[in-house]
């Protein structure tokens, strides 16, 4: 176990979205546009890092029988900060993400890292784990939402909060609406997971040969 491997494992090897398949609900709901995906990713990363560090610090104080409520209290404090900051500085994004910001409290990625990692490891490693997992989540959301924004709306990188309409790639009337609907989200995610798995398998085979 090294600081570096804990930091990088969340990016691909143990990517929370593509590998551990956690946090599917916010993944489906917020990967409609790149700005939403990145916004959600950063918000979740902030909460994840904060809660990992605090939970790790308190890991010897928290009684194991009521640990989940304790984690929730810690997580909820960070979510409240994120919620208020986003409402103040990026109100449009805050409105789009809506209920999914308060719902970060029960995001399985954050709870799972607190339960499976931070409560058993030191502060430094927990910090690395939180950053890596958060960035992995952000990366996955960005990739997924780039595909969905492009195919589903015909534009890329629209950021309503900065008044930027995005780069128009093709006409909106030709965009496939299904891609930004839930079925399109599941199909895109499924194909990406399949692609990633087959790439890893090929790499493993090449390494063995």
């Amino acid at each position: 176990m090294s600081f570096r491997s804990e930091l990088t494992k969340g990016l691909v090897r143990e990517n929370p979205t593509f590998r551990i398949l956690l946090g599917m609900c916010p993944t489906m709901a917020t990967s409609l546009a790149i700005s939403n995906g990145i916004g959600m990713g950063i918000a979740a990363t902030f909460v994840l890092v904060g809660s990992n560090v605090i939970v790790s610090m308190l890991r010897n104080v928290i009684p194991s029988r009521i640990r989940i409520p304790c984690y929730i209290v810690v997580i909820a404090s960070f979510v409240t900060m994120v919620d208020l900051v986003m409402a103040a500085f990026v109100p449009k994004l805050h409105e789009v993400l809506g209920i999914f910001i308060p719902l970060i409290v029960v995001n399985c990625i954050i709870l799972a890292r607190a339960e499976a990692f931070a409560s058993k490891n030191g502060v430094l490693y927990s910090l690395a784990d939180g950053i890596g997992m958060g960035l992995g989540f952000t990366l996955a959301l960005t990739g997924l939402s780039a595909i969905r924004e492009l195919l589903g709306t015909g534009t890329l990188l629209a950021v309503p909060d900065f008044g930027f309409p995005g780069f128009k790639v093709f006409d909106r009337s030709l965009a496939a609406v299904m891609v930004i609907l839930p079925p399109g989200g599941f199909i895109t995610l499924g194909l990406l997971i399949g692609l990633l798995n087959s790439l890893t398998r090929r790499k493993k085979k090449a390494a063995q040969a």
Binding site: S173, A176, V177, M178, V179, L181, P183, G184, I187
Partner: protein
């Protein structure tokens, strides 16, 4: 289906000299009258759509099988049939590349990912249509009337118009039976002419490739339910995609039940769903979704309707 070496029924096994390629080429032959009617009413544009859909479907299957190093199965014509059926349920003026995407999606996502012919849960052609309708609803509901006379419609516009079912649902205008029977109405390329579809269906029934159970229970349920709800049963049978769906889509071997009782249940279920979507749903037509929903129930229906074995006595509880 072919070459798996696995027989999933109890003995005795009677082998018929009927293989998948024979059945599939008979289905293509049986679809010809409907296709010809489509070309007659909607012009060469309809023919182009069929060519594009068939070519994309066959090309997608061949390409994926090559990519994944699987045995090539385009020789059983099932990909061609799926592409052909998809073209027949698309509006004639849909951009050709959208038809191609629908065909590619039908083959890659609805069939190949599940494991190819015999493994797919849903009818690929209908998945293709459902995906196109969800993706480009504007293009998928833009209809054209085949000829320039439709005196029963006020403010008639031949270039853009509604299907008979939409006219009935939204404006209460009823299209004459003769037009519906011959196919001189707006609609998908191959669904408008009841006459052409029935000729093809008669051929399939005569060759013994489909049984009467699913189509008759499907169409019968629609007629009876329509009458019960105070609608015109004959109109509901002739209009829309009911006949094409009942004879060519709902009878798909892979996605419909194999037990005789199960086929009746399947047909009745399709009929009930179709009528409810038509009368109470957001869309004027419900055949496509009705069949897809019942596809999902097929495995369950098969399980619950296993026929009694010869000589088997009912267990006394």
């Amino acid at each position: 289906m072919n070459g798996t070496g696995l027989i999933v029924s109890s003995s005795p096994h009677q082998r018929a000299a009927v293989s998948t390629p024979v059945i599939m080429s008979d289905v293509i032959l049986a679809l010809m009258p409907a296709a010809l009617a489509g070309v007659w009413f909607f012009g060469l544009r309809a023919l182009a759509m069929m060519v594009v859909c068939v070519a994309t479907a066959v090309g997608t299957e061949a390409g994926l099988e090559k990519l994944m190093r699987k045995p090539l199965t385009i020789g059983d014509y099932s990909a061609a049939v799926a592409g052909f059926l998809l073209a027949l349920v698309l509006p004639p003026d849909l951009p050709l590349w959208m038809g191609a995407i629908g065909a590619a999606f039908a083959m890659a996502i609805a069939k190949f990912i599940f494991g190819g012919l015999g493994q797919n849960i849903f009818n690929p052609a209908l998945i293709g249509r459902a995906v196109l309708l969800a993706s480009w609803p504007v293009f998928m509901t833009r209809w054209r009337w085949p000829i320039f006379q439709a005196p029963w419609i006020p403010d008639f516009d031949a270039v853009s118009s509604a299907t008979p079912l939409a006219l009935w649902k939204l404006s209460g205008i009823k299209t004459p039976y003769l037009n519906l029977f011959v196919g001189n109405v707006a609609g998908s390329i191959g669904e408008t002419s009841a006459l052409a579809i029935l000729i093809g269906a008669a051929y399939l029934l005569w060759r013994g490739h489909i049984s009467w159970r699913i189509p008759v229970s499907f169409v019968g349920t629609v007629a009876v339910l329509a009458a019960l709800f105070g609608q015109d049963p004959l109109f509901h049978v002739l209009a829309g995609g009911l006949l094409l769906g009942a004879f060519f889509m709902a009878t798909d071997y892979v996605t419909s039940p194999v037990t005789p009782k199960g086929q009746l249940v399947f047909g009745i279920g399709c009929g009930v769903l179709t009528v409810f979507i038509r009368l109470y749903g957001g869309y004027p037509e419900g055949v496509c979704y009705a069949i897809l929903i019942m596809n999902a129930a097929t495995a369950l229906i098969d399980r619950l309707t296993v026929p009694r074995k010869f000589g088997e006595v009912k267990k006394v509880a």
